[in-house]
């Protein structure tokens, strides 16, 4: 059993305007997992993850990051451990050169000289944009801007990386790139991804939590979560397309998520039914 990197105990959060966005959340996030947070708009997903790097502090209850209570630390301190990639890269990008954009975070953390150079280079190489380092970030296309936003967080080497809707506004190429990047990053980081893209979630997540009406409604592996149709309906979520097809076919296993799994199940289903005749 791996050690939790984030522990959330009885977390309730009410915005100053009086809207309670989180109610009695209890959750432990383990080192090395890829945790997907799904749920409809306004269910509390972004509010929850903003507690992990101290952008928000609990109204009641506690959030512990590596056993440090977020109430006692600033976002600047917590961001050494937890990096947050915003949904809209334009909210995040502000320097005039890609290289400077990536350098900003680690420089602020006190990195200098060859160590600074190395971490900028690594962060740009992992997203595949080293060649664009002299460009102005705002001259890049949306796919590239998203990768720059992710890269600038990677450069600070946080233990945990939060990706808030990483595929919004991305074309098919961009979605694939984000998917392979999550897989790559998950080898050395804990990843928390908020997404409406159930296809992506079914392929990258080791655990899914489903938020509904400011609470965690249920959680489990993608295979466990995407067969719970009644609960998903209640939260207005739908399983990915292949899962929906599989679930509509009589005699099929219900937890089929990918095309390969579907074909395997189709072949074994055919041989099962030919034996029974």
């Amino acid at each position: 059993m791996s050690e939790p990197v984030i522990k959330i105990k009885d977390l309730t959060f009410t915005y100053p305007a009086g809207v309670t966005a989180l109610r009695e959340i209890n959750l432990e996030i383990n080192k090395g997992e890829v945790l997907a947070v799904i749920g409809q708009n306004g269910s509390g997903k972004t509010t929850l993850v903003k507690h992990f790097n101290g952008l928000l502090k609990p109204s009641r209850g506690n959030v512990l990051v590596n056993n440090n209570n977020t109430k006692k630390f600033t976002t600047a301190q917590l961001s050494r451990t937890v990096g947050y990639v915003f949904q809209d890269p334009d909210d995040q990008i502000f320097m005039s050169k890609v290289y400077k954009e990536i350098e900003f975070g680690p420089k602020n953390l006190g990195l200098k000289g060859s160590e600074l150079k190395r971490s900028v280079k690594e962060a740009l190489e992992i997203v595949g944009l080293w060649d664009l380092r002299r460009k102005h970030p705002l001259d890049l296309n949306l796919n590239e801007k998203k990768l720059i936003a992710i890269s600038s967080i990677i450069a600070m080497k946080p233990e945990v990386i939060i990706l808030d809707e990483p595929t919004t506004g991305q074309d098919h190429h961009g979605v694939k790139k984000v998917e392979s990047l999550i897989n790559e990053l998950s080898r050395n980081h804990t990843i928390i991804v908020i997404s409406h893209n159930m296809d992506l979630v079914s392929r990258v997540a080791s655990r899914v939590i489903v938020m509904y009406d400011s609470r965690i409604l249920f959680q489990g592996t993608p295979k466990k979560v995407f067969v719970k149709n009644a609960l998903l309906n209640k939260t207005y979520l739908k399983p990915p397309p292949i899962a929906r097809l599989a679930q509509s076919i009589k005699g099929f296993k219900r937890d089929v998520l990918t095309i390969d799994e579907f074909i395997d199940e189709l072949i074994s289903n055919k041989s099962r039914s030919s034996k029974s005749h």
């Binding site: 809207v19 397309p241 189709l266």
Partner: protein
């Protein structure tokens, strides 16, 4: 009958060397549901802005050729003339919402007030729209305090309430959850049935597969293909060449054909796929 006609249309934003739209020739018919797909940075948003007249009236640059919308040449007509015919729903609700209203009801009334709509009619339309889009539970909230997806619903409602003849939607569901997305697409379909011309730019080809009459691929600033939805969306090689990933159902049927488990046409929708599987199971 063509209601939107691009005639050898090109657009160059001031200060940029290359054209964002190059030699576009395209007719969209009245009442048609027309889909646009393509990569990022291909000019799809500019394409949408041009129909509304934002290009050239709001952004500086040069037009070659012409664009005729409901009989009006967009370059020679004012935006206020165009705005009675075309509604544009943008990607981000932040750019769309006026902030003029203190709550959702007031935000929705803003456009109608500007047109001098009688109060009674205005209240009726606002009420209907709130019900249609499902805004009841937050109609008295400030739009800017809502979540991203809820804001987008308000933004869509604020355009629909003007009852435009042509509705241009630029990635309208990019920030919406699956329910919001389905709801918006069902709504768009309903509007299409009423005869409103729909021009929809989206990455969600599953939804285009269900709803669109025709689809165009706009890639690298040029139109690469225009055709019937099924013809375009099941052409795996064409899509691949344009860096577009075909739907899971198309991929599944292609894979089954490759493995000689299925002989037949490529699938596009869930229903196609269900039929295919029952054939495969029988065969």
């Amino acid at each position: 009958m063509a209601i939107v006609e691009f005639k050898n249309f090109s657009w160059n934003y001031s200060g940029y060397r290359s054209k964002v739209l190059r030699n576009i020739n395209l007719s969209i018919n009245k009442g048609e549901f027309f889909g646009i797909i393509g990569g990022v940075g291909s000019g799809r948003t500019t394409f949408c802005s041009a129909i509304m007249g934002l290009v050239p009236h709001l952004y500086p640059g040069n037009i070659d050729g012409e664009l005729i919308v409901d009989g009006l040449n967009t370059e020679k007509s004012s935006m206020s003339d165009l705005s009675t015919r075309v509604g544009l729903i943008m990607q981000s609700p932040d750019t769309q919402l006026t902030g003029a209203g203190m709550n959702v009801e007031e935000e929705l009334s803003f456009g109608l007030e500007n047109l001098g709509t009688p109060r009674k009619e205005m209240i009726k339309r606002v009420k209907k729209m709130i019900k249609l889009i499902g805004l009841e539970s937050f109609k008295y909230r400030n739009p800017f305090e809502l979540s991203g997806g809820q804001q987008q619903k308000v933004a869509i409602a604020s355009v629909l309430i003007m009852q435009p003849e042509i509705l241009v939607l630029d990635e309208p569901t990019a920030q919406l959850d699956p329910l919001g997305t389905t709801l918006v697409f069902n709504l768009i379909k309903k509007l299409a049935r009423k005869g409103i011309t729909i021009i929809l730019n989206t990455q969600k080809i599953d939804y285009l597969a269900e709803f669109a009459d025709r689809v165009a691929i706009l890639n690298d600033n040029e139109i690469r293909k225009v055709g019937k939805t099924r013809e375009v969306l099941t052409d795996i090689n064409l899509l691949k060449k344009n860096r577009i990933i075909s739907s899971d159902f198309t991929q599944l049927s292609n894979e089954l054909i490759n493995r000689k488990l299925y002989k037949g046409a490529l699938c596009m929708t869930l229903n196609d796929a269900k039929e295919m599987i029952s054939k495969v199971k029988r065969g």
